[in-house]
Each structure stands twice: as C-alpha cells, then as structure tokens.
Amino acid sequence: MIRSRLTVLTAAVAAGALLAGCGRALPTAADLGGGASSASAVAALSPTTPPPTKNWNKPVVWATYRMVDTLNPVQAFDYPEDTVDTTLCDSLLRQEPDGTIVSGIATATYPTPTKLVLNIRTGPRFWDGHPVTSADVVYDLKQASSPKSGSFYTQVFDRVKSIAATNSSTVVITLKQPDYWLEGELSEMPGVVYEKAYAEKEGKKFGTPSGLTMCTGPYEPKKWIPGESLTVVANPHYWDSTLAPRVHEIIFKGIGADATLTSGLETGAVNGTYAQGIGTYNQLKRDKSLTVTNGPAANVDAMVIDNTKGVLGNVKVRQAISDAINRTALIEAVYHGASQMPRTLESPGQWGYGQSVFEQDWNHLPPMTVNLAKAKALIKQAHAVGKSITIGTTQEISSLATDANVVRQAAVEIGLKVTIKSVSAQDYIALFESASARKGIDMFPTSNYGDYADPAALYNTVVMPGGSQNYDDFDNPTMVKDLNLARSTANPDLRASYVAKVGDLMATQLPWIPLDDPDTVLITSHQLTGAPVSFVYMGGPWANMMGAR
C-alpha cells in the first residue's frame, strides 16, 4: 500500500542527487487559485478517453515505475504487476473503467447468502487453445487463498468455507457468513484465471521470466528480459470480440526516474504511462505531442494515526490538526493541482456500485478546507496546547516529506510541539509492517488504496479490529457494525448506504486524517487513445481499449 513513490527514491539515489530529498517548497497562498476544492470537480472527471478509430501499427512502449517482477497474480499487488497482469489475464469477474463489476470469465450468482456460484462462460480459451474449466478456477482460487503458495491475498478469503467444482463449468464457493466483498476481490488479482495444468507443470517457475503464465487475456507474453522489458503481443483468438486489441504489440518498460520518463515521453521513446504524482506534470501537459488526461481518483493520501495512546488519542486533537491543514497548498506542491480536496477517507473513483447513494452522501459532507479558528478552539478544549507529537516520514520520497511538512506546519500553528522523524525509504516501508518500526511515531503520511472500487475495501483495513492497517487498535463499534452489515448486504444501494455512514464517521472521528484524493493521470502520445483513466488498470481490462486516434 506504499505505492510507487519509491521510484523517486531510486531516481535520487541513482543520480547521486539527493535533491529529491528536500521536499518541495510550498507555494504561498497568493500563488494558488484554489480550483482544486470546487465541488463540481467530481463530476467533471471522466474515466474514459475517446475510443480509437484505427489500429495502431507500431509497438506501444508503456512505462511502469519499475519493471514487473512476477506474473503470478497471487503475488501481484503493486502498480507494475497489476498493470501487466490486467493486460494478459482475465479475472472471474470484470471491473469496468467506472469501477462497476460485471461478468468476466464467469457469472456470479448467490442462490443463498452463503453460497456464491460461478458459472464459467463457454467461449474463453487459454492461449494454448484449451478451454477454461472449473478445475482451473478451483485451482486458482485455492492458490490465492492458501498461505502455502505465498499468496498476498489469503485474508480476503477469510469468510470462505470451501471451494469446489460441481461440474466442468460450475464452481461453488461456500461461505461461513455472507460476504458480498468477495465479488470485488474476484474482479481483481485473486480472481485471475490461469491454466492449472500449466501452473503445475511450471511449478516454482510459474510467473517468472522463464516460466511465464497461461491466461485467456487479450495479450500474451512474447519476450521477457527481467528488469528490462516485457513484450506482449495481441491474442488473435481473444474471446471477447468487443474488446479485441487494436494495438498489436506492447512493450512494458520499468522507468523509475521522472526525468528519464519525461524525456522518453517527449521523444516518443515511451508512448504511455499511468503516472503517479509526476514532478514534470506541467511540462508534459504543455507538450503538444502528448495528451495528459486526468480521471477520478482511487487512492487517497492521508496521515496514518498509529498511536492513540498519546495526545492523538483525543479526537478533538485529530480534528484540530485536520482543520488546520492547508490542503490546497499541499495539492499544488505535490500534484501541481492534479488532486482533489477530500471530504472523508474515500474518493469518488472508488464508487463501483451505489453511485447515487455515495454521491448524495458526499455532497452533504463539507470539503476539508482550512478553519484555523475552529482548530485553535478545539485544541484548547482538548487542553492539548504545548503537547508533543512525532510525525514519521522519509526525506527520500519528496511527496511524503511534503505531506509531513504541511501537517507539521498545521500542528505547530495550533500550538502543538512537533518532531519530524525522518527515516530511510526502506524503513518507511517497515512502518506498515512492524510495530517496533512505528515505536515513537504518532502519525505518518501514506498514499493508500483498496483492491477494488469500494470505499469499504480501504475502511476495512483501517478500522476493523485486526484490520491489516489498524495499527492503533482503533475501535468504533458503530463503524464495525456498519461495515459488517455492508459486507453481508446483497442490495448494492443498501450496502452503499452502510459504507457511506462509515464514511461520514471517518470524516469526524478521523482514525486517519485525509490529505487529498490524487487524480488518476494518464499520459500518452497524442495519437494513442482509448485507455481508461481510472484505477481499472490495477484490476480490469485497459490495454485492449487502446488504438490510434
């Protein structure tokens, strides 16, 4: 959940230039237009680009922040792996660019709340021509849910009792309790369908450059030079003719440094990328040979509160800090404006169902603008003036350094004493994994996302008891109750209403303090069009939507 900002670190170390470590200077209030806070921005961002009219005949060079490491979906989590896996493979269910979930390789039905039946379509074949059978699907799901396979996704199967094939095209998942979140997971990496016989034959080599994979997707791997490039070619027999690829060949390259990526895009050596907080955003926007498109956000930037034993245990102190943060300045400094003002710990790009319910709720939440008078009053009420907090960060990743700096300014302004504890990027990652690394740190910045388009996918990790990112054992019975209700509710709008209630509490209880909702940013050669501009590239088909303008 750390996301790509480590790329900046790589670049800085490589260049021997620790310039990136200084954080970016904040613009003064006078420099800022404040456009990022407008409420209508939500509706203005579309998750799609104009569809192509022609085939694209040259190879497309696509950049990810580092080279893909594995094609094994159960160990795919970060941007490069997810971007590539979604190009090669189909999941049981399919994520659309707007986050909705539809049928994929299979159709899902719930005959009873604790029984999920997957009916496998009859068209999809693996690249070797073999049809997809229930044996493949059972194998894939068992790999994804078993710790023995080294799966990163075992926790999402915690309500699953059994997975079994009832005939060659039907798989039944029996649940211990109703679980409507499982659909979301099956539309993503844990639901990726690959051939059992192939995976067993390759054994430990499955997913590696020498073992590759065997999927049904629109592209198949042709040549993988580890750490350098992965070339994939269009699958001429792709089962879904509405999404037949219009680009014949895609070469994925890992490019870490912003400067290298920028010159690659400007010279046409790179044709496209989903950029994460790129420092040269404005320069690329001005380049006539490129198209920069902003889409709805799916990740949220926030301060993780990992210690509520200190002064941050008082919700008034958290609210005071939140009210004092100058998010407009932060958005300008880190994203050059390509990020939105948050209202709670979610972003509109995460509404994969129940959109109208979520949107209605969102519209009555106030944007998190600065309110110093209220902040100062709250901190006095909490008797916290002069108390100390420690903010963890890493100077090696400039956006995180800037986040910490803006929050420090806010906290100091309302009378708190702030220590910044800066660690190496490696140790920063450890903050997410080890309690000893978090010791002495009260909060730290993150850019975080859930597995699929549902605010609950993130909330679940933050506030549920034992949640993977619930570091301070935050426990709010109402939130827990509503999340459990949401998980067990079949009706999408009703489910959304429970999640929206949790979102409302998130905005006032602040188990984490939201900072901003960064746009999904797609940068392509001007002639290349069609790629969706949403988080779908992390879970659903996107590459086969591209073609020539």
Partner: protein
C-alpha cells in the same frame, strides 16, 4: 614451464582474485544483513501480509536462518554447484540475470573506453606537443568536464540531443550494431566525460615532461625527423603512465556506469545493482558485486601485462616504476 614468469604471474593473480572474492563476498553478505529493511517488504510492496504467508515466504527464501548459516549455504552453492543463488525479486537464478545484463554494461564501458582512449589520449598528446591556443582550449574543456558528474552530463545530453534536437534516442539499449551505437552514444559520452578529463591531463603532462628530457632534446638536435622523435622517444616512454591512468579510469567505469544506466534506462548490471540493493535482493547484490570485484582484479592484471609488453625492461608482474 611452471616456473616461467608468466605462469607465476597468472597463478599469483588467480590467488589474489580468489582471496578478493572471498573477503568481499563475506563483507557484502554481512553488511547487507546488518542494514535495515526486509526483502519481504520489497516483495510485497508494503502490503500487510498474513502471518501464515510471511512464514511460508520466510521458509521459501530461508530468511530466518542465522546469517552465518546462510553465508555458508551461499558459499557451498557457489563452489559446489556454481549456483549464485536466486533473486527474490525476479524469482530467477542470479546467474541468468547477470548474464542477460552484463553484455549491455560491457558494451557501454567499451564504448566509453574507446572514447576515452581516442579523444582523451589524443587530446592529451596534441596538447602536450603543441603549446598555444589549442592546448589552452583543451585545458579549459577538460577542466569543465572534470567538474561535471556523469548524472548531470546525462541530464544535459538528453535535454539537448534527445528532447530538443531529436538526434539521438533518450533511453533504451537498441538492437543490432547500428541501433546499439545510436542508443549508447549519449550514455557513453556521459560516462566518459569526467574520465576523459583525467586522462587528457595526465597524458598532456606526461608528454610535456618527456619532451623536456635530455634524450629527446638530443634526438631533436641530431636532426631526427620530428614525427619519429615523437613516436619513438616521447610516446613510447609516455605510454606506461598513460596506460596506468587509462587502466584505472576504464576499470572505474564499471562502478560508475550504474548512474548512467539508470539515467538512460539501460539494462545493465549497474542499474540492477542499485535496484537490488534497494529491494534487499541479497543474491543479486552479492552476484553483481562479485562480478565487479572480478572485473577489477582482471583489468589490473591486464594493465600489468601491458607494462611488460610496452617496455621490455619491466619484468612481468613487476610494477612499473
């Protein structure tokens, strides 16, 4: 035969190589283990994993064994099975990863070496032989280049020749001879720039000091044609210090190329080393470091052999004075 100076020299150098590899492998292994961070966090990208998964992965990669046990396993693997271990990040044998990348680095270093030898030594000789405007400009240019770190050179070269003028590609390795030359020209210049300056200056000073020696002056006064004097008396004698400095700078390019490879997105071992060190991919760091140590020792041996070839008075293996 066994007692011939060449055999003795080779045996001694092989011994040195083995010793260097053992010592450096141990130091690298231990320091990687002492440094903070965890290969699993690099593997998972920071995703919080379940305890059972962590346990399974630790078992698979032997991450819970004591350091010395792991080092011993590593040495056994290398010595008995010629197995450099497996990359945690790429799940591939380290030897495969290195062999796929070493060619790219070797091409880059070779190209840069040619530039250094042709232009660096060339400019040094010209400057040494001829005082005047040309010499002064060579000094000026080499002073500037000496001060430019290769990552700055890379940024400037890309901005001018790739982005603005579109003459040469900004990144990638290229394929075929022509493509490789085209793609590696900017990286090789970036890599050679500061080394070029050193070589030029040392060559220039050496040539200059040879010129002022008595035997050269005598040769000139005897009426021996100038080109012959330069070839036989000046360059011949200047060749040993020049070889030394070229040898040292070219070997150091192996270590410097990491920065340039990253800037131009080349698929070399230098860039891989940086990436692996960040990701705590022990096997890869270890493997590439050993390759670099080996390259250093071998390059030094070649330079020493060259001494004997260039100047018969120098015995094989002896340091030229």
């Amino acid at each position: 035969m066994l007692s011939s100076p060449l055999t003795k020299f080779i045996l001694r150098r092989v011994g040195l190589l083995i010793l260097a590899l053992i010592v450096s492998s141990f130091v690298i292994f231990i320091s990687l283990n002492l440094a903070p961070g965890d290969p699993l966090s690099a593997l998972s990208g920071g995703r919080s994993l379940s305890k059972a998964t962590i346990a399974a992965l630790n078992r698979e990669y032997h991450l819970n064994d004591p350091v010395l046990v792991r080092y011993w396993d590593y040495v056994k693997g290398v010595v008995l099975h010629f197995n450099l271990g497996t990359s945690i990040q790429f799940r591939e044998p380290v030897s495969t990863l290195i062999s796929q990348r070493i060619g790219s680095t070797a091409e880059l270093v070779a190209y840069a070496a040619v530039l250094i030898i042709v232009f660096g030594v060339g400019a040094g000789i010209v400057g040494g032989l001829r005082r005047g405007v040309l010499d002064n400009s060579i000094i000026a240019v080499s002073t500037i280049l000496a001060a430019v770190p290769s990552f700055v050179a890379a940024i400037v070269l890309i901005a001018i020749f790739a982005v603005d003028l579109h003459w040469l590609p900004a990144l990638g390795n290229g394929s075929g001879f022509g493509g490789t030359i085209q793609h590696l020209t900017l990286p090789a210049i970036a890599l050679a720039a500061s080394a070029f300056a050193v070589v030029t200056r040392v060559t220039r000073v050496t040539v200059r000091s040879e010129l002022s020696l008595e035997h050269v002056q005598t040769a000139v006064s005897r009426g021996i044609p100038w080109p012959l004097v330069v070839r036989r008396h000046v360059l011949r004698n200047a060749s040993i210090p020049i070889t030394t400095v070229v040898g040292i700078t070219v070997t150091s390019l192996f270590a410097l190329c990491a920065v340039v490879e990253q800037a131009f997105n080349l698929n070399g071992i230098g860039a891989a080393l940086i990436q692996a060190a960040l990701e705590k991919d022990f096997g890869v760091v270890q493997g590439i470091s050993l390759v670099l140590v080996g390259a250093f020792v071998i390059a030094n041996a070649v330079v020493d052999l060259l001494y004997a070839f260039l100047d018969p008075r120098v015995a094989i293996g002896a340091r030229a004075s």
